[in-house]
Assembly symmetry: C2
Homo-oligomer: 342 residues x 2
């Protein structure tokens, strides 16, 4: 367990390093107002903290830098709440002032604002498809052999897929089928769709629809491909503002990762209640070993539907970002709930 003084010093070092990006020496710390000890005392404590694994030394005659463990302790125990500045507040409020109807635009704009306010990369996932319910299904024939299947959810999200029609199917047949599907499947959660398709629709279909076999298969296929979450990425280049990422190779690793949307979902892990912080090597992916990721969930009517997150260097302003994320996720949830709940 760390002594009170050790905590004080660790806190001072992390704070300082976050803002300077330079290894911090004992003198710098001893001159801080909140510290009343000489540099020599600090040096002793620093040596101890290093032995305990909270600090690291780039080389013998340099100051100390927090280790992953150091940041972890800082985030878990030392962090002080950040007060949002007027500027931050006014930027954030832009989002809520805007009256955007389109779900995807709201989310995209959220990511944009978030990156702009924090000066880090913003990533927003959402919405979790399996929380959504079917509102309407439609099949639009394009020509003899092709059609578009369209699924609309209660949140106003529209998924569509091009499908091949069985030979010689008649428009009336399709219409009949669509009516059947809508009467049976409306308000069913998306993840149950395939199951319910067999339970409740298949029997009826066999009786009323020609080419029952083919159509069923096509339907299943088109319901299956609902992608999971969509990824909204903004401010990816912000990472290059950080002095520790002045190196093209480092940046490249990170941006390449960000280019692959599927990897991002991995990075975020399962949605959790409240703020989650992943620091440096705590992220499995190697390219992220010098980055931290802070995430939280947003809700519609109390149900989590997606995740918002910030990606920055391990040396990121944890306190500020956490406050911003909390504020934003709460506001976003309120906004979405009032707009999209049932």
């Amino acid at each position: 367990m760390l002594s009170e003084r050790q905590r004080l010093i660790l806190n001072a070092i992390v704070d300082n390093y976050i803002h300077s990006a330079e290894p911090v020496g004992s003198r710098t710390i001893s001159k801080r107002e909140d510290i009343g000890f000489s540099s020599a005392t600090i040096r002793n404590e620093m040596a101890d903290l290093e032995e305990l694994g909270y600090l690291e030394q780039p080389h013998t005659s340099a100051g100390r830098v927090p280790s992953t463990k150091g940041y972890r302790f800082y985030v878990d125990n030392l962090i002080k709440p950040h007060m949002l500045s007027d500027l931050e507040l006014s930027k954030l409020k832009q989002l809520f002032a805007e009256r955007i109807h389109h779900f995807e635009q709201v989310i995209d704009y959220t990511a944009q604002i978030l990156s702009h306010v924090t000066n880090y990369t913003a990533i927003v996932l959402g919405p979790e498809i399996f929380e959504q319910r079917l509102k309407h299904i439609q099949i639009v024939p394009l020509n003899e052999t092709q059609a578009v299947a369209i699924v609309v959810t209660n949140t106003g999200r529209v998924e569509n897929k091009l499908i091949d029609l069985p030979q010689g199917v008649r428009p009336q047949e399709i219409e009949k089928l669509v009516n059947l599907l809508n009467s049976k499947l409306t308000d069913v959660p998306l993840w149950q769709l395939r199951q319910r398709l067999y339970q409740e629709v298949a029997g009826e279909m066999r009786r009323h629809v020609e080419q029952y076999e083919e159509m069923l298969q096509i339907l299943e296929e088109s319901l299956q491909r609902q992608e999971g979450e969509r990824v909204y990425l903004r401010g990816a280049t912000k990472i290059m503002d950080q002095p520790e990422f002045r190196d093209v190779d480092k940046v490249k690793d990170i941006l390449e990762l960000l280019e692959q949307n599927d990897q991002l979902v991995h990075l975020f892990g399962p949605p959790t209640e409240g703020i989650t912080v992943r620091i440096g090597q705590e992220n499995q992916l190697d390219a992220m070993k010098e980055c931290s990721i802070i995430t939280t969930s947003y809700y519609i009517g109390g149900k989590p539907v997606g995740t918002v997150g910030i990606l920055g260097p391990t040396r990121m302003e944890y306190s500020r970002v956490i406050t911003v994320l909390n504020y934003l996720a709460e506001g976003l949830s309120r906004m979405l709930t009032s707009q999209f709940e049932k």
Copy 2:
């Protein structure tokens, strides 16, 4: 006008620089098989070429580097057709082998393959909305006050928009309206929709639909917002493989530009028949002054629907990229035509 020998030398210099990324000296050139002159002769010619503006010298005791004018002459007059290697061919054919139904997926996959084959950044725009025709329109009420308006085009593209309903509108009204719209507007090109809405539907609507005014306004709004072209960007990080972009600041300028989709449309300019090459400062945007962009159009049934392009350093393999783009655009056009034409 350049002499035959000057062309030969300019060609050799550009070729060499493209592959080495180092300023080329007279000795290097004189040793090439296709050149039969001593380094001294080459030096004289190089001095002339520099005076004429085709070459530049980073500093006195360095070799020469092609200027924008030099590249331009190379591209217009000297380039030799590139033979696609087996590897390139097999990668390109992956695209045509795949049987993807979804338009957007085809385009996205195209960008992916293109970047992978060329090792440069690939950008694909499309499809041009105004070439598409309305296939089906649908309005799905979500609750008392909101609905989703969905527009399906003949290429299978689906656009959707959340709309506010006028107070107290009845579902039957909406159904009536949708039927009316579909019967009047099917097969109308998207760009004519608004106009035709007034010409052909408004009168009928007034007679048959309650809350005529509000609905008309809402409809117009929802048809209006059809975004122009979509942008598919792949391999943005490839630029960092280039030795002249080892500098984070340069890379940042470029990637920031690429993050803004609207800027990209600018960059491509209006679609043209055949290959277009924009070299260095020929691009208006300052961040692009060390980049070249090669574009060409792709077609559905003989009509241009979008643009594919490659972004690389000015020192890019023009010949190879042009061949790849030609081959790919042709194949893509064939593929899309067989799949989507009316």
